[in-house]
């Protein structure tokens, strides 16, 4: 059970950060996950008055405030225009609209949950996170850091010509994914680069980068070989939702479909 002694709606980021340095303090996002845990929280810090609930688009980046809800990114035109339906696809299976009107991007990324669709999707897009104390770092670095007392301010997605696909498999609608896979391609330093992110393995999402030049008219067998290779480079585990072997198989299938869909678009 979660118990909270004090609720503070922070007036400044500085105040929020200072309050959060106490061991028994917690920053709250949408509270959806935190409320299900067991903890005695002395002070819960509400960030909702600090303007972190905006998605801002500039020439080079889309900056998503930590307090933006999953529903906001699901409906964000700027993300859709840049990367198609991938981001919406990554969140639309998460519980229900009411839930997504409340769960935040900050809580989802900060939590670094193994099952996270959100983390899987943003990791593939080579995203950055902006921290109050720790500056701006790559999400791929943040994901492997131990949770600390910093505050996540925003998630920054670069705008560049990339193709993005996202797919997950669930045993039943609204459940956690059995596996979540995302594939992104684009030019990096003049070379075609493929990024693969696989989450809910059930370990948290990890990223794989490959400089593969695959012709748009690659045969089905060729795409299947690449997909098999990519899927085999991740580790998988077993839990109540599926065995490691089943997950590896699903990852290979989803990666193959996503690669084929990207290549078909390039034809």
């Amino acid at each position: 059970m979660l118990t909270i002694s004090n609720y503070v709606k922070a007036k400044t980021l500085e105040e929020a950060y200072e309050l959060n340095q106490a061991r028994s303090s917690r920053v709250m996002g949408g509270m959806m996950w935190m409320r299900l845990g067991n903890a005695r929280v002395k002070t819960v810090i509400d960030l909702s008055g600090l303007g972190l609930d905006q998605i801002e688009e500039s020439d080079n980046v889309i900056r998503i405030g930590a307090m933006c809800t999953l529903r906001q990114i699901e409906e964000c035109e700027a993300l859709r225009e840049m990367y198609g339906d991938g981001i919406a696809e990554s969140v639309r299976h998460i519980v229900g609209v009411q839930f997504r009107n409340q769960a935040t991007v900050g809580g989802s990324i900060y939590g670094r949950f193994g099952f996270s669709d959100v983390l899987t999707a943003f990791l593939a897009l080579d995203t950055f996170v902006e921290l109050y104390d720790g500056g701006t770092i790559r999400l791929s670095e943040f994901v492997n850091r131990k949770p600390d007392k910093d505050i996540l301010l925003s998630v920054i997605v670069r705008k560049s010509k990339r193709k993005f696909r996202y797919e997950s498999i669930r045993q039943t609608k609204t459940d956690f994914p059995v596996i979540a896979c995302s594939v992104v391609t684009g030019m990096v330093h003049g070379k075609e680069t493929w990024y693969f992110s696989v989450g809910a393995r059930p370990m948290k999402a990890a990223l794989l980068e490959k400089q593969w030049e695959i012709p748009a008219d690659a045969s089905e067998d060729m795409i299947a070989d690449y997909a098999r290779q990519a899927a085999s480079e991740f580790a998988y585990g077993t839990n109540m939702r599926g065995s490691a072997e089943y997950r590896r198989h699903l990852a290979e299938v989803l990666i193959r479909r996503e690669m084929a869909s990207i290549l078909a678009e390039g034809k």
Partner: protein, 164 residues
């Protein structure tokens, strides 16, 4: 602590501890339509609107709604009764326990989506669980309600209240 917010268009004041959830405060204020089905953000029974958006009151800290607008089924009674007649007409209620949260989310959907198709409806309502029915009655009720509204708006005769 004392919290002040607008409940069903009336300014209200309530006492709440730091970890009191909105659901308990609303029931304390007499909104007994708001029910707890799971307490784990899965069932949608506790759905209310905060600033016009569907949210799960079992997981909202009451303190965080200070200064916001909350709407429960009691605040949209006329519309809820109208739609409820269509639910009853399609045999979509058995125990009826899921109906308040379901109706709140259906009404939110009508405000957000214009003429939603069947897949959009299913997706919008995926977070509202019903343990008695197979959802088919609810889907029929929604479609017939939308049809009746469209006919009413275009001046054509239609089923005014869905109950047959």
């Amino acid at each position: 602590m004392e919290i002040q917010f607008v409940l069903n268009q009336k300014q209200v004041t309530a006492e709440a501890a730091a970890d009191t959830v909105l659901l308990d405060v609303l029931r304390g204020l007499g909104c007994k339509s708001v029910k707890c089905g799971c307490e784990t953000t899965n069932c949608g029974l506790c759905t209310v609107w905060i600033d016009g958006k569907s949210r799960l009151s079992c997981s909202v800290l009451a303190a965080s709604v200070e200064g916001h607008e909350v709407t429960t089924l009691e605040g949209v009674e006329k519309e809820a009764t109208e739609f409820g007649a269509f639910l009853a007409g399609e045999g979509a209620e058995q125990c009826g326990f899921c109906s308040p949260g379901f109706i709140m989310n259906v009404l939110a959907m009508f405000r957000e989506l214009e003429d939603p198709g069947i897949d959009q409806i299913k997706e919008y309502l995926a977070g509202n669980l019903c343990r008695c029915t197979g959802y088919m009655g609810q889907l029929r009720a929604i479609q017939k309600y939308m049809q009746a509204k469209a006919e009413k708006n275009s001046g054509q005769p239609g089923e005014e209240a869905g109950a047959r």
